[in-house]
Symmetry: C2
Subunit: 450 residues, 2 copies
């Protein structure tokens, strides 16, 4: 095996990887023995274990429990360089990655490119809602949601009237996918567990959680009985699940819902957005340059080997790619295991091309899908839906799986301890409101003391 | 023992405590069995174990390791209410606490007041430096310093010239007290330990740390030989200690130092401010209303029982108070144990007044002073300076003491584990750059890749 470095007489091919998530990191790792130099670009310095992001948002885990510096993951891979920067666009014909404005010189030339730029949440054309209904994709998002959740209880404690306190204790989660279900399920746990005895004027257990889903069921990616089970489990936790309900408007003090043409106004200052994804803008740009049609969320269709049509040197993986799934007749789902597998395949295909071998098609191995509901319930669909598990058994399975996945991250022990503690004592340790700009925070309205 | 609640026929006296730091929290706790109602007001939702804040700033500990919600600490004290809010001023004659603008109704009437509002860092009239030389008092400060330290290495990695990289790898710490010594000592550890193998274009070990102190020695609160020992230990870590050196100017890309009338310009984008404190503005207001003279940092002189002259119902404790220390002929130092002891005394004195007993004078018990230098050295002055310890023994003592102090916080086990891990493997787990507004962050300047 030959490991070529930039300093060798014949320049090693340069592979640029955009994105340090599951897909990009797997791609970079797959190239560790290849005779190439790898540059991984990400706008964050950390790789994020996103399936547990909702735990940070609900104060169960600290940000550092689920994130690890990308440099740290790749420190022992001498052919890989990590660059903290923002990608503006890709010049497919010129084989260049264009970096965002303040970075100069602003281009990275490549021989091979693997794009794993992921997605953000989508407001379906209502981007103005972003300020009042934050989504959950990054650590900063999670810290912001945590701040809003905790601030809501603080504001309720000092609200001038019972009606105002009720509004502050009303939480609306929009979107019935796994993120929405997990967020909605943890808020009652937070209110009834950790916060229970800490307030004097309000009873945090009065917190009311609405989970709003436009479609007819929860967890559309899982078999229908599991969606129904999740709905029942959430209802048992006191969550008001509204199916077939659209969000019509979001303002700082309320949301307007629409069911069967009838409007309902819900007073709340805390709306969390977990409805729908929009692919990174790179998707549309790549599709345009390759002459293919992006899907309606901006994802790029790719060939069976994950390369872009007409561009064997350019691969797209993860949430940004539309990948056919012949075995199931649809497309590969946008989940972490799929991104990891695709990243590995793309990295491996680059390594094959460098050695003048033919690429291999991507074959997705379905590991199943999971969602937790509150503190000790979950639903899981395994082996392509042939095994369905729900309740506490699924939760323990979920826990074991996530701790196993976290192996390789140095934080697994810390996570295990935090969870054991939270499980045993009902406490949530990371309940911090960290504020860079206290003046911008909605300030509580304290009542005059007696 | 009679525990009176607000609902009893005869209204219980209302005690307002301003500040949830060591002093305020100790005061509130000391009133737990008193027949009063207590309202503790703080602008942060958490109590902070500030002696370890430099560990968060240097990515060794996570914010949640050293902070705990104030509500959580007081959850089992039924006579205490916690209010998240900003105190604008105190109306001493009217016995009212005025809350900052957005809070309405904006006053808290009190029968007794304990002010423990602490201090911020002071730029000695150069407040414009704050943007380029952040100080370290709050969790947000620590997260910001961590971001700047880590960003500096990122910028160095993509710097266009070796000189630019050198400037990015130059760190200037201003102030030779414990915070400055501890920050300066941890930067080489961070650079040589955790970051060592993670960069490709720079060698993080080239990081240069300047510790600038205007006075003739480090750690002025400790005996002189320990200051000299700290200087030697820092020099052994490669820190360039500049005594008798003033900071003349701070700009985004440099600091100007002045030694014996000669100017020196140091190129750096990372200046950390650990020089000097300024008491909360409440100090000057209280002093004016009581007709006493604040000291030059804005602290209020108090009587032997910690009350304000002419106002037996108002006590001032912690960094905000100037308290005579007859045993030593000076004033009580601004350290955490002194604030805790004074808080307890003030709370106890209020309890005595409520029961129509005479207050007692504050008698400070000196537990000694400590500062760590890097990863396994410290200096300690114990039993009023009669016992001086330096080197690894002092470090182990420091560690044991801080872990013992953290008992009562739920995070001690996590802290112990993180430190054991960091000590054994040289890793620092909390190396996260969390960014709410990525556009405002100085963006790295990537070089065009080969």
């Amino acid at each position: 095996m030959l490991t070529t470095r930039t300093s060798t007489p014949r320049r090693a091919p340069h592979v640029v990887v955009i994105g340090g998530g599951f897909g990009g990191l797997a791609a970079a790792r797959a190239l560790r023995h290849a005779p190439v130099t790898v540059t991984l670009v990400d706008r964050a310095n950390h790789h994020l274990f996103r399936p547990l992001l909702y735990q940070v948002a609900t104060a169960g885990l600290a940000p550092s429990d689920i994130a690890v510096p990308i440099r740290h993951v790749l420190r022992d891979q001498p052919n890989a360089t990590v660059l903290l920067g923002d990608v503006r666009d890709v010049d497919v014909a010129g084989r260049r990655v264009l970096l965002a404005a303040p970075c100069e010189p602003a281009t990275l030339s490549y021989d091979y490119l693997i794009v794993a730029a992921g997605s953000r949440h989508s407001y379906f054309g209502h981007d103005a809602w972003a300020a009042d209904a934050p989504g959950l994709k990054t650590l900063a998002d999670a810290v912001e949601i945590r701040r809003r959740l905790l601030d809501a209880f603080e504001r309720a404690e000092v609200a001038p009237t019972p009606a105002a306190a009720d509004a502050e204790l009303t939480f609306v989660v929009v979107g019935g996918g796994p993120t929405g279900v997990e967020l909605a399920g943890m808020i009652p746990e937070l209110a009834r567990g950790a916060l229970r005895r800490e307030f004097r004027r309000i009873d945090p257990r009065r917190a009311r959680v609405l989970l709003v889903e436009a479609g007819p069921r929860l967890l559309p990616a899982l078999p229908a009985p599991l969606g129904e089970r999740a709905r029942r489990d959430l209802a048992a936790l006191g969550v008001d699940v509204r199916l077939g309900t659209r969000v019509d408007d979001v303002t700082p003090r309320a949301v307007r819902l629409r069911v069967d043409g009838v409007d309902e106004r819900v007073s709340t200052s805390t709306v969390l957005w977990a409805a729908g994804n929009r692919a990174s803008p790179l998707g549309i740009s790549l599709a345009r340059q390759a002459g293919v049609e992006p899907d309606r969320t901006g994802r790029v269709p790719v060939l069976a080997d994950l390369s872009l049509a007409g561009h064997p040197e350019l691969f797209v993986v993860g949430d940004l790619a539309v990948v056919a799934w012949p075995a199931r007749g649809g497309t590969v789902p946008s989940v972490a295991p799929a991104a990891m597998q695709a990243g590995r395949r793309a990295g491996d295909n680059v390594a094959r091309l460098v050695r003048s071998r033919a690429t291999r098609p991507f074959a997705y191995v379905d590991k199943g899908e999971l969602a937790t509901i509150g503190k000790h319930r979950a639903v899981a669909s395994l082996f392509g839906g042939r095994l369905r598990v729900a309740g506490w058994m699924a939760w323990w399975f979920w826990l074991a799986l996530h701790i196993a996945y976290l192996i390789g991250f140095r934080n697994r022990l810390s996570v295990l301890l935090q969870w054991s503690y939270a499980y045993l004592f009902g406490d949530r340790g990371a309940r911090l409101i960290i504020d860079d700009a206290p003046a911008q925070r909605p300030t509580p309205r304290p009542a005059a003391a007696a």
